[in-house]
Symmetry: C2
Subunit: 334 residues, 2 copies
């Protein structure tokens, strides 16, 4: 489907679900961006879920979002159970504003929901020539080190910086070894999954994808990844006033109440300590890119580069819509 | 050796190497702490190296350390090639001061050197009831994803938070799979190292410890760990004004100039957004600790807990000094 037409369709659907025009536009842009960067798990496949949550009154389509000023640098946002995209959009914009004013901006968002891709918000800050961290937690997906039950979300660590080129450095990495989607595909195809990725329901390591689905996924690098996931849960949940410690509800399965996800945005001016950040980061990237490469590697890429390439390529094309989602669109549009 | 006696010895050695009494005390405390927490690679085994660097005039024993105020929250420190312990001690104390005043403190240090364990500085902030990040870079030790040459340091990510108990949550994790010391031991014992830990000098994966020593170590979780190491290099090097992109010199081998390592400290008040952080973090930890455990695991520990247990145990004992270090002490004391 042509991108413009798809965008109008999504906007119409969200407006039919009582979102304002401006909020519907924010959501449509975020969903289409996910498709364009090659992350369909965070794109249209979630549209119906968001609408279902609005219908079941666990997302508030007409939120009264309050921004509380703690200082010139620090703000807190109570998103009033808005859709995550809208809360995060307001959050990152406020953090950018604070950083532009004082050099550093810290914004905590509570009572929000799943906001899609962290990198999407990080890019907003980087495009304004700022350094940025985005943290958010998510429903239980991976087991803390030593546990045989999931509790942490995939809890991404997201960091971005201007690079002096048009392609930003955006590290947006979950702390699970592989994502659940890949395990699902392996289960369907009857393929094995790598070692060290998951435990079965008895807490034993397994390479059987079906047993892994019934069990738990593991964090990257054992105790280290588990610690990083815990850190993200603390920063985005405990610190902001959001849910934490396994209490974030699964948006697809649990309609018993709002998610109350928390987000934390930290934004800094790159020239706080050096006059020539742009030159320095260019030199840094150049040094790393010209290292001798292992066999089969043509180019050393910095985080965000391959995503940007996919985006550029996809921007010229129509968006491919699977039958299931065409069906969703028809139903929701009715 | 009794801790008190050892401490006096170290202070005397540093004073003989022209450090002031207060700087010598800071260094002695940091080195002894590393021994007590069970990280001897960051303890006495480095004493001679620091003295050698002073003798070769690549560490400045009488630094004129300048603190520049950027704002109430933000400071920059030019450490004037001081020993890293002293620069980092001043840096974290300034960040704590700024955070106490405004809610958030950001301090960049440049022209510093190896500062020992990040967790040691994080603990200072946590003991003042603050949340903290410490970043520092280090000499080349691991290869960026796709490269067959080392460039990133082990570049630790260090995060700390008060827990409402006396044992702080301190995540202090390097981004290399295992440390070089372990590969050295395996090489000596003729043992194999695990898969995915290192490449040989031709860029091929190897489990032969000797070949690994001639080759490169790998970051945790492939592209993800590589991205995290890159992030730390940017934050502590590019951003602060320190060396970066593989230019930090090895303190043991390269006396051709100062290291110019950069550190970045970010400190935040835990109650910025919630009135009851202490209660919330306690609840968070409780929920995770009571998860069902995998076979053989008695207790789920949070980062910093086992270190604190070692510290407590070792605090009552004499410090065991290997013959090589006894020799160092004698020579340096002469």
């Amino acid at each position: 489907m042509k991108q413009k037409i798809l965008k109008q369709k999504i906007i119409k659907i969200f407006k039919n679900h009582k979102l304002s025009s401006s909020h519907a536009l924010i959501c449509a842009n975020a969903l289409i961006n996910a498709e364009l960067v090659g992350a369909p798990t965070h794109g249209l496949s979630r549209l119906k879920m968001y609408c279902d949550r609005i219908n079941k009154k666990v997302i508030n389509p007409k939120p009264k979002i309050k921004i509380k000023k703690i200082s010139q640098s620090i703000s807190q946002i109570n998103a009033n159970n808005s859709i995550g995209f809208v809360a995060a959009d307001i959050g990152i914009k406020q953090a950018i504003k604070n950083a532009k004013k004082t050099g550093i901006g810290l914004v905590a968002v509570k009572n929000s929901g799943h906001y899609g891709l962290s990198g999407y918000y990080a890019e907003q800050a980087v495009n304004k020539n700022l350094i940025v961290f985005c943290f958010t937690n998510a429903p239980p997906a991976i087991a803390p080190h030593g546990a045989k039950k999931s509790l942490f979300g995939t809890n991404p660590i997201c960091f971005g910086t201007p690079t002096s080129s048009r392609i930003p450095f955006i590290l947006d990495t979950s702390v699970s070894v592989i994502n659940r989607g890949k395990i699902r595909v392996a289960a369907r195809m009857g393929k094995k999954i790598p070692k060290g990725v998951a435990l079965d329901k008895f807490g034993k390591p397994t390479t059987d994808a079906k047993k892994a689905l019934a069990g738990v996924q593991l964090p990257i690098a054992g105790f280290r990844g588990s610690g990083l996931a815990w850190m993200v849960d603390i920063l985005s949940g405990v610190f902001t006033g959001g849910n934490h410690g396994g209490k974030v509800k699964d948006p697809f399965d649990d309609f018993s109440g709002p998610q109350n996800i928390g987000h934390l945005f930290l934004v800094m001016k790159p020239n706080l300590f050096v006059g020539n950040y742009s030159k320095r980061i260019k030199e840094n990237i150049k040094r790393i890119k010209r290292l001798p490469k292992i066999k089969g590697v043509k180019e050393i890429l910095y985080p965000g580069q391959s995503k940007q390439r996919r985006f550029k390529k996809n921007l010229k094309k129509e968006i491919n819509i699977p039958p299931k989602i065409t069906e969703d669109l028809k139903k929701l549009n009715a």
